[in-house]
């Protein structure tokens, strides 16, 4: 427990100290929201009701979660590069708690960033249900746990930062499109839809869409438990894999 708190605290200190990085991470979601939102003005997704931006915004929140969480996990590699990981790994605390501390820190920073974008999206015309915010936060927390864990796993397996661009192109972007962030997945060809249903982000976005707009692809009583189970699975997997790695 102690280690989880200490690592969380470190993440918070670094977060508040790197304002420029935080602001720049908000730029891309805001560009997507303003250009796609205004560009597709008057277009509406069948069934979703209202303007496209109402469909789009929860998807963009999902995009932000996907990017910032995966990177939060992968930053373990940067710690390794700077040697700081060794300091953490020789401390008399369990490796699992080190992984959990990372996840706690990363979910918190992701939550803060996502809520900032949500607030800004209302200025851009996103009309959402305020009472849906607690459920949205839960979905952010769970989805973020999934992708930080995946980031940690990638960082444990991958040796060098050279693979970084590879991950962005072959993992993050495909997931982003598959998860129905921009378009309803029901429009995809069927084999692609299967892939969509394999992505945890699909469920995260769907829960947020339900919470904020009332529209969703599947009942929240199905998507939320699936999201919960995948979060638990990935967190446990990352803690396990992290425990097994040696520090070079």
């Amino acid at each position: 427990m102690r280690a989880i708190y200490v690592l969380w605290l470190r993440e918070m200190k670094r977060f508040t100290r790197s304002k420029s990085r935080v602001i720049s991470s908000l730029i891309m979601p805001l560009l997507f929201l303003s250009f796609l939102g205004s560009g597709f003005q008057g277009v509406s997704v069948p069934g979703a009701g209202g303007e496209y931006i109402n469909f789009l915004s929860p998807g963009i929140l999902g995009m932000l979660i996907l990017f910032s969480s995966t990177f939060a996990g992968i930053t373990v590699m940067i710690d390794r590069e700077y040697g700081f990981l060794k300091e953490v790994m020789v401390a008399p605390v369990s490796r699992a708690s080190i992984a959990l501390g990372r996840i706690a820190g990363g979910t918190t920073t992701t939550l803060i960033q996502t809520l900032m974008v949500l607030a800004l999206s209302s200025i851009l015309g996103f009309n959402f249900n305020i009472f849906g915010i607690p459920l949205t936060m839960l979905a952010i927390f769970l989805s973020s746990s999934v992708f930080i864990s995946i980031g940690l796993i990638i960082a444990s397996i991958m040796d060098q930062q050279e693979g970084f661009q590879l991950i962005v192109n072959f993992f993050i972007f495909p997931l982003f499109f598959l998860s129905g962030a921009l378009t309803p997945i029901t429009n995809f060809p069927e084999p692609i839809q299967i892939l969509s249903y394999l992505s945890p982000l699909t469920y995260g976005i769907d829960v947020m869409r339900f919470a904020l707009t009332g529209y969703s692809l599947m009942p929240v009583l199905i998507s939320l438990p699936i999201l919960l189970v995948s979060a638990i699975t990935f967190v446990l997997a990352s803690a396990y894999i992290f425990d097994k790695t040696e520090v070079k």
């Binding site: 102690r2 280690a3 708190y5 200490v6 605290l9 470190r10 200190k13 670094r14 100290r17 790197s18 710690d79 700077y82 040697g83 700081f84 990981l85 060794k86 300091e87 953490v88 790994m89 020789v90 401390a91 008399p92 605390v93 369990s94 040796d159 040696e246 520090v247 070079k248």
Partner: protein, 331 residues
């Protein structure tokens, strides 16, 4: 009492053996040095003793705890300063120390007291609130040594503590280490490839090369193994004549040992000052051109040459790069 007991410890990375069946004991309060070239297996040994690597075979106990089955107890007993910096450069010096204290479960009031204490020990009180990114190499190293002491470890590991530092900073860090060992009675295990460092700091030294310990003892004892002073001749390379000279020298009773190495000839004799002229005559007879002559009291470098037939700088294995890559890739 023993702080560290190592028995038949081995670490293999695929087909490459980094540490080959080493055994030794380190007494409590001792400064013990691992002297050897890069790639000899020094860091790998430290990583096994600090639980970062799992040994392939053999066993090791630190402060009475097994490094494989009692990892947490081992980690609580040790402080470690790595070869490369292991600081969070985005935090201040004090925050790095706080992080460490918290991770090791040092309670708050005790932690603050200890942090002030260690900062004073390394003369960094006034730099503590600056972000580490702005520190010089020497400051970082001093901060790391300070950090290693916060949780009152029984054993302190220093992996090449002065690598890449200027002479002045090196000297200061040596003084800190000496003082630390005297004041806190802490056991120190350090690795180095600097002869002077091992000589100055260590109570006992183990010379390691290619993963094997080739000699062990106090600096004095190791030097005595050589049997006297060394007269070193720098000569023009003439293989046939050199061979003759070697033969003549081997037949002289007053020459204890003779070794040729590139264009250097090392003769071990008692009271070298009185033997120089004799040596010069021998060389003249053999027809060897001498470029320079020097007399040395034996150094650890000579000890190293004696045991390995090469200088410590040459000892870098040719496939060192390959080995490092194998280490990074596979376990």
């Amino acid at each position: 009492m023993e702080s560290i007991v190592i028995k038949d410890l081995t670490k293999k990375f695929k087909e490459f053996t980094a540490v080959d069946n080493i055994s030794f004991k380190i007494k409590k309060g001792e400064v013990f040095g691992f002297l050897g070239p890069n790639g000899a297996g020094k860091t790998t040994t430290i990583k096994m003793l600090s639980t970062l690597f799992n040994p392939t075979s053999g066993e090791a106990k630190v402060n009475g705890f097994d490094v494989q089955t009692q990892r947490d107890d081992v980690r609580k007993s040790i402080g470690i300063v790595f070869q490369e910096t292991a600081l969070d450069v985005q935090l201040t010096g004090r925050e790095n120390l706080e992080f460490h204290g918290m991770m090791y479960g040092v309670p708050k009031d005790k932690r603050n007291k200890k942090i002030d204490e260690v900062l004073k020990l390394v003369n960094m009180e006034d730099k503590a609130n600056i972000i580490v990114k702005k520190y010089s190499g020497g400051m970082k190293r001093r901060l790391e040594i300070a950090r290693g002491l916060i949780h009152n470890p029984e054993v302190l590991f220093l992996d090449e503590p002065t690598l890449g530092l200027d002479a002045q900073t090196r000297r200061r860090i040596w003084d800190y280490i000496k003082e630390l060992n005297k004041k806190e009675k802490i056991t120190i295990f350090l690795t180095t490839h600097y002869m002077e460092e091992a000589d100055f700091l260590c109570d006992r030294i183990a010379i390691i090369d290619n993963g094997k310990i080739i000699a062990r003892g106090t600096s004095k004892k190791l030097k005595n193994l050589l049997g006297g002073d060394v007269i070193s001749l720098e000569i023009k390379k003439t293989p046939g004549k050199l061979k003759k000279m070697l033969e003549t020298c081997t037949n002289c009773k007053w020459i204890k040992k003779v070794k040729a190495h590139n264009n250097h000839l090392s003769l071990t004799v008692q009271n070298a000052e009185t033997k120089v002229t004799k040596v010069l005559k021998l060389a003249e007879k053999a027809g060897i051109d001498i470029i320079s002559v020097s007399i040395r009291k034996p150094s650890l470098e000579d000890v190293f040459i004696h045991f390995t037939g090469k200088t410590i700088r040459e000892a870098k294995p040719e496939n060192f790069q390959m080995k490092m890559m194998a280490m990074r890739r596979g376990h």
